[in-house]
Symmetry: C2
Subunit: 345 residues, 2 copies
DNA sequence: GAATAGCACTCTCGATCCGAGAGTGCTAAC
DNA sequence: GTTAGCACTCTCGGATCGAGAGTGCTATTC
């Protein structure tokens, strides 16, 4: 990319900021009038032509104002990335909401999704913390009726799985508790691999349950992320770029077909460290479904133990100035919560 | 409502069926041509005028075809209510999908929502089974780090709640297990009221946990329904009546503001028995948000133990012929699952 | 040489108009 | 009771058109 003069930089940022607010192509005249610039519209036009030439702006049609290209948005984002901060008062409000809520992963995720959606006016996604490597922590067996048993499996890192088992024959709660207790002593802290390599148990029930635990842990380990929480879906329809329902439907689909979402989140998680934000603009050539959209994503949690992803999807025209600091702040908050509660051995 | 002649009945049903398919006002000529009727268009016109007079049909404007009124839809639904059956093959497919899935309430709900949305081309809602009266079944305390403890609380009926507690001081896993075991023996099968009336425990930790259990159970009891699952949101946008995003946004909001949904589900649950369907057309004057929509709702589960609601929301023009039997069938299926697994004491 | 004023040109957008088509209600005849 | 015929109404899509906004280019100014 060629070098930009100081004036071009200010102009470019101004144009993009204006377009994000107004959703209208911005012309030279409007620019001069709204922001008192010491230049004539003709000069602006020349500069705009240059910026268009360089690929930061484009015209929807020959004689209309300019709108940013993806490249333009990228420049815009890179400029504001480091400076944007959430106002103290908003930070305080959000923190307060979290400390008000029940100490419960489910609630946190819901709250985080709600805050993100509300602040950014976009659609939010939050995945529950997920361990990179599944480690056994605790199992509980609760007899329900006859041969049915509810198994609650807890992993190091805090993930919990419930499953209903059907045993070959009825077993008393007492025997179930003994089995659970034996297995808890034996398996505590073991990884999935270690579990699978364990020699068979002599007790048939112990062995059955062990097999089921391994199965269940494998299933959890295979999932690329924890449960997905989302909020603000109706915000999609407020944006003019989604006025025609075709585009809007495509955007909604992304959130219904979890496969795309999983893929997206999984791939971004590789590139971004905890604390670092990632902004995807226009699908980056990778995701056809996101061609018209941008996403601001961040990873949170304790690396090596349990991490999750959170982010916001909006039109390319989304308010980055508001979204970026919010995502960053909420990611930090969740990281702290994860660290404080479910981290230690 | 005045009496309808046999001919008027057939005509009315025909018109509504056609409108549901085509989404276009249906005129007398079209009717004669598409369904070979032994009548002239003029006769049909007379009958249509009569049906309009009686309030079953209306005209969007003076010289257009007829579309059903809410009253018309109600008549239509009442006629098909008892006859509609899901084809054997579809029944088999759905049953198969359920038996393929993991024995896990979460999966069942997700699957049910997915099937309903897919079959009806509408938006589905399913609530997890919820006990009418909370009864304690089992508690488990798992030490995580320092003063943090994960409490898993299981109610009779299968509801599970997880919560992270922060104790006043660190407690060993051993002591936690003993406390849990003592409480399990003491509290098994007790209702919330019985729990609250219990005398204080001498052991401080036991007492603390007991208090927290009561708190948590109260919270669960206060919720009018279990967790809400939903699917098919993007289907909303396929329907022509939601083409202008304003209407569509309103419909989407219903699903984001859980309060409306809770209210809706809670109220319908009172009127409908397990096995009975309820069809709400046009909000029935109660719900402004649903003015343009219909809902097909059913209650499932084991009355007195645990029940939930499931249903489909769509435009008033939704395919009742497909939706009604599907909702009925899935409700039956879920009832069986609830009965088979989590019912017994 | 950079900035500016002026100007001709282009393109969109909304308003308006118009005719085709679909559908109706009514009347008179069967 | 049914039907054919007819005049009438209303919507919808396409065509037309002018206002307005914005541009690029050129000639001029500082």
């Amino acid at each position: 990319m060629p070098e930009l003069t100081e004036r071009q930089k200010t102009l470019l940022l101004l144009i993009i900021r204006d377009y994000i607010e107004s959703a209208q192509p911005v012309g030279s005249k409007r620019l001069v009038e709204h922001y008192h610039i010491n230049l004539s519209s003709a000069t602006i036009r020349n500069e705009m032509a240059a910026l268009t030439e360089m690929g930061y702006l484009r015209q929807p049609h020959t004689s209309a104002g300019r709108i940013p290209t993806e490249e333009g948005y990228r420049y815009f984002v890179s400029q504001m990335m480091n400076q944007a901060e959430l106002p103290e008062s908003v930070q305080a409000t959000i923190s307060h909401q979290f400390h008000q809520s029940r100490a419960d992963v489910d609630q946190w995720m819901t709250l985080a999704a709600s805050i993100l959606a509300h602040q950014s006016q976009g659609v939010s996604v939050v995945t529950a913390p997920h361990a990179d490597q599944a480690k056994f922590k605790h199992v509980e067996l609760i007899s329900t009726q006859g041969r049915q048993v509810l198994m609650v499996l807890v992993l190091v890192g805090g993930e919990v799985s419930q499953q209903i088992l059907t045993l070959a024959e009825p077993v008393s709660q007492e025997r179930l508790s003994q089995t659970a207790s034996r297995l808890n002593g034996l398996l505590a802290g073991l990884t999935l691999d270690a579990l699978a390599a364990l020699p068979s148990r002599s007790d048939a029930l112990d062995q059955d349950i062990l097999t089921l635990i391994v199965q269940d842990m494998r299933r959890m380990a295979e999932r690329p992320s924890g449960e997905i929480y989302t909020d603000g879906l109706s915000n999609v329809l407020s944006e003019p770029e989604f006025a025609e329902s075709d585009e809007a439907r495509r955007a909604l689909r992304i959130f219904e077909k979890h496969s795309v979402l999983q893929d997206l989140l999984a791939r971004t998680s590789i590139n971004s460290n905890v604390g670092g934000l990632q902004v995807l603009i226009g699908g980056e050539g990778e995701w056809e479904e996101l061609r018209q959209c941008s996403m601001v994503l961040a990873r949170y949690g304790v690396p090596g133990l349990a991490t999750g992803t959170l982010g916001v999807l909006g039109p390319m025209r989304m308010s980055y100035a508001r979204t970026i600091p919010t995502v960053r702040f909420v990611a930090g908050l969740l990281s702290n919560l994860v660290n404080d509660t479910i981290s230690g051995e």
